[in-house]
Assembly symmetry: C2
Homo-oligomer: 640 residues x 2
């Protein structure tokens, strides 16, 4: 049985399974750390530069404005100016409405559109993200804060806790970025996020029915059942027809402008100034008719002037420290997930890269500074970022323009908002959040992956039937369960030979593929780890049993050769090697040969160091299934 002779049979033309060089512990760990935390090679451009240049690059790393600012032109400024003014007109009514949703005074919302955008402009890497208060985050922080302190009875403590939570949200975000743990936000799957956002949109819309219907006594729960009950109980004495009239007519107006903007992309500005127009018109109308005397609730108290400092208001001790910390961590993570997801969407539309870890540091810093200047958690807003993008923004300067317009508003015209009816704010929120319900994505998810759809539905139902927190928990839990399931029950497939070739393919996918008599070829489609090593072993034996039964029925010869295709087995651990040993033993008892085909570099190295190679025999590990069949199956004379 000359080795030369064997090689002629082989379709690999005599190539042998390769052994990669051994790696030491340190090399292995440093490789792992590098791929995990520094996959984007942040230090790449520093290589071989003089010290002064390195310092400059470092500064640019923290403040990207130093990089793009040097190439800033008048043409870009024009685009940013138009976009900035447009998003300012959208953000002013939204800020007031979102602050209301977080149970905070309206001016806090406006404050949050002044300081954070300025910081983001210096540090952010997305050119299109418009930062400030956002719908889902406002709902979330409002729900969480409310369960600790009553915002009506203790407004000061409430806003102090809000600043504390904002501070820790910022710290969380900045630390995650600094320690390059950005990949943590990717643990919430896209599908779960879509479900969560849709659920949150419906929850927000339902909550707005309070302002929209002019109900005075409303539930503080956010689940659909409590809200519906609350509305029903108020049906006879709590609804106010003047409020409903104002709310409904302006909601119709807002939705109509949205529809127009959708039909004709050039008219997007119609829908972006519509909220401001609604606010102005409705405020004027209420002022003239004095509708506030007929039960139409108005904003009433709104402070003039820019952000006062609030560092002294943050709880750094006492029982509220831990509560603020907890709320901050949750809110900060959700705000991060949103901002980075939105940032990626727009970056891919204009084909540039955003740096997840840098983004996190930027968002974190802006919230830390925000918490010291009377702002609550700000993040990227989907509606305003979309308008920013469509209005032709070029850089983060549009955020600066927006912040300046907001400051002017704060200094000059806030008193005019006194007569703005709450109902108009509700209408604005409802018209914004309907676009968070992304049924196109849901449809796609349903078509592509049914398990993903279950995750989406779970997060959605969690939000609308329980609470935002539970919805979030459901989203994370389902996402994790999916990962674990995938790792616990990897796929296996039977391979067959494509006639006239040396190629062996999945027999389920390629009906042309035919079985080689007496040979069973099983492909394992995942790393073999402790979580699945037993399953993989049992599954292979089950394939063998099923095959043998079928062959017995058809009167074919029994299986003599079992080839396990390891191409997709990227890694194996001690449990996995143990499972292979057990498989080998079980097959030896039945006088079936075990061949391993095409192990990858990591697997072959580990098989060797665990001395499995000696157990199975060097020649039983081959480069491909084709080789194995040639070498072991097609010589029946030797194989009796």
């Amino acid at each position: 049985m000359g080795a030369e002779g064997d090689e002629e049979y082989s379709c690999s033309h005599g190539y042998k399974v390769g052994f990669p060089p051994e790696k030491g512990l340190l090399a292995e760990i440093s490789d792992g750390v590098k791929e995990t935390f520094f996959a984007d090679e942040p230090l790449r451009e520093y290589k071989g530069q003089p010290r002064s240049k390195k310092l400059w690059l470092g500064l640019q790393h923290v403040f990207p404005v130093l990089d793009w600012g040097r190439h800033y032109t008048l043409g870009k400024l024009k685009g940013d100016l138009v976009a900035g003014i447009t998003i300012a007109s959208l953000c002013i009514p939204q800020d007031i409405a979102y602050a209301k949703m977080a149970h905070l005074p309206p001016h806090i919302g406006l404050y949050s559109s002044f300081v954070p955008p300025l910081i983001y402009a210096l540090m952010g890497t997305s050119r299109d993200l418009a930062v400030g208060p956002a719908a889902v985050v406002s709902l979330l922080i409002g729900t969480l804060l409310q369960s600790e302190i009553d915002p009506v009875k203790n407004p000061l403590e409430y806003s102090r806790l809000a600043f504390t939570a904002t501070f820790f949200a910022g710290i969380t975000q900045a630390l995650l970025g600094f320690f390059r743990l950005g990949f943590i936000v990717e643990f919430i799957s896209h599908a779960a996020l879509v479900g969560f956002m849709s659920g949150a949109a419906i929850t927000i819309a339902l909550q707005q029915l309070k302002g929209f219907l002019g109900i005075v006594h409303f539930t503080s729960s956010s689940d659909i059942i409590s809200v519906m009950k609350s509305i029903w109980e108020n049906v006879h004495h709590g609804w106010n027809w003047q409020t409903i009239l104002i709310g409904a007519s302006f909601l119709a107006f807002l939705l109509a402008t949205k529809y127009i903007a959708k039909k004709n992309k050039k008219l997007f500005w119609v829908s972006s100034i519509a909220p401001l127009i609604s606010v102005i018109v409705s405020t004027f109308f209420v002022y003239i008719t004095r509708a506030d005397k007929h039960g139409v609730v108005i904003i009433k108290d709104i402070k003039q002037g820019i952000n006062p400092p609030s560092f002294h208001l943050i709880y750094f001790s006492g029982p509220y420290l831990m509560k603020g910390f907890r709320i901050g961590v949750i809110t900060g993570m959700v705000a991060l997930t949103d901002a980075i997801a939105f940032g990626r969407v727009f970056a891919s539309m204009k084909d540039y890269q955003i740096d997840g870890n840098k983004e996190m540091v930027a968002l974190g810093t802006m919230n830390i500074v925000g918490s010291m200047t009377s702002c609550y958690v700000a993040t990227g807003s989907l509606s305003r970022s979309a308008v920013n993008y469509m209005a032709g923004c070029k850089t983060t300067v549009s955020n600066v323009v927006m912040a300046l317009v907001v400051v002017l508003t704060l200094v000059l015209i806030t008193p005019l908002f006194k007569y703005t009816p709450i109902a108009i704010l509700s209408s604005i929120i409802i018209s914004v959040v309907v676009s968070l319900i992304d049924y196109e994505s849901v449809q796609l998810i349903w078509k592509v992956d049914k398990m993903d759809f279950v995750a989406c539905l779970g997060a959605f139902l969690g939000v609308i039937f329980a609470s935002v927190e539970y919805g979030l928990l459901a989203a994370v839990a389902i996402s994790f369960a999916k990962i674990l399931l995938h790792v616990t029950r990897p796929r296996t497939a039977l391979l067959g030979n494509l006639p006239r070739t040396f190629i062996y393919m999945n027999a389920e996918q390629y009906p042309e593929a035919i079985k080689v008599p007496g040979v069973l070829i099983v492909r394992v489609d995942s790393a073999i780890y402790f979580t699945n090593s037993n399953y993989v072993k049992e599954r292979i034996l089950r394939w063998l049993r099923d095959e043998d039964e079928q062959q017995k029925e058809q009167g074919l010869p029994e299986t003599e050769l079992l080839i396990v295709e390891l191409s997709a087995v990227t890694d194996i651990d001690t449990s996995g090697i143990h499972a292979l040993e057990e498989l080998l033993k079980a097959l030896e008892k039945r006088q079936i040969q075990l061949i391993l085909a095409n192990p990858g570099p990591t697997v072959i190295r580990k098989l060797r160091s665990a001395k499995f190679m000696e157990l199975i025999g060097d020649d039983k590990i081959v480069m491909s299934a084709g080789d194995a069949v040639k070498k072991f199956a097609l010589k029946p004379a030797e194989n009796v």
Copy 2:
């Protein structure tokens, strides 16, 4: 550009990428459920059987004794009798010692070797497992119970809570088995378990220094620092030389017999009866010399008679219900993990199968019944099972024999244990647990997988420096982190062509493999999910960037074709498809063609339903990297 002409170039002989048939939601879910929970096809043998046969098979399923009992022979009984008596001689001193470790009266330990083994004999599927109290579980339950109730001040409440915990441990185990969630125990990796067990062994041995050195005031913490401090503080007035003399001499004897048994496998019985001999000799010695009057602590109170009922002692209400529940769940899971791991070891040595889910139901039932008959948590014991195996046990009947011997002991000779010194129990425990320190496994783990070694070390340090609970937590957390890391940062590899073939292999593993000019072939080695979709996209672009730099240096042509090998990509979700879309867009900007090679059945189906096929073009999805090179790279005339 005739299709016929193309096919001649192709090394796949004209085969096209196959499309598997579409599956509905229900089929997909039911397949998933089947593979997850019923991978072992428990209903297989019921198929096509008459009803009476089905009933009989069902009974056999719950009570395997009905199956193997029919083939039970006198020869087997002989083996079981010898093995049963041998393990009984080992279990009697161990039971007393372990009960002491769990801060329970010694007779509770003996009770736990009577009822549970009988139940297990009827329901268990392992032929070699010897059940009863075990070292690690006793330590764990002792630590957990002690933090709730002081066993010295409130012995009744303490034992009531122990029965409650045992009850819920049984319920947990039985339910996990019933709902076929057996795979949950596989989430603790082998490496973490090795570390945990070694750490627990050292912790147990250290705790035994109390009895061994005759210290009266000893710490109740189990971490190494507290224990060492406690020993040091007692050095001048707390140590008792008589106790140390007894303990040390018998420990030397026990370790010597262990060494003999290890050297000569036939003499294993020497080490298995050594503990009983030590107990008898030392008891006799203390009785004669009345050493108990000189500070040698003895067992003193031990009850005669068999298990009294204890159902009425279990807390079914009040604050201890939840505490018992929590302790029960933790202890039950650990006991399960141990028993199933040990069961598998012996099953693979004798080449039979144990059924994880059936085992869990058996272990659960035995603990539920045990909790009602004054037993505490019993599980498979490694030391006794090993002796059982070596003594030639054939079936679970050896457990029955052991139980009967224990009953005789309880009824007839327990009063004789009155003068047994505690030091001898400590010596026995120390001599048993040293074999839990599995440094051969640790060595293997170090050689095979450095990350696994870190997990092992983490669990080990957690146990010895913090507590058993924290060690367990560390083991689980590290195991999970490893899974998540694997899913977040999958491997990618560059492929090269093996000269004179159509085969493309990992260039790192096969140095012979050469690059095709202008073509970059990247293999992705994992399902592309939301956790890694961004990373995979970025990593592929990084390969491209690195390659282009290298080519520029060498003056070679730029990359025109990027082939992504998808053989190992077993699944893709919406985020993954989105990442591919972004990759396609980024490559289009640089005028690089993207080709996908060898997508599996699931991937191709999802790519089609997400309309990605239309975006990239049907002909850009090919069966192998070889095909792609043939078709797109080797026709430079058309590719200008």
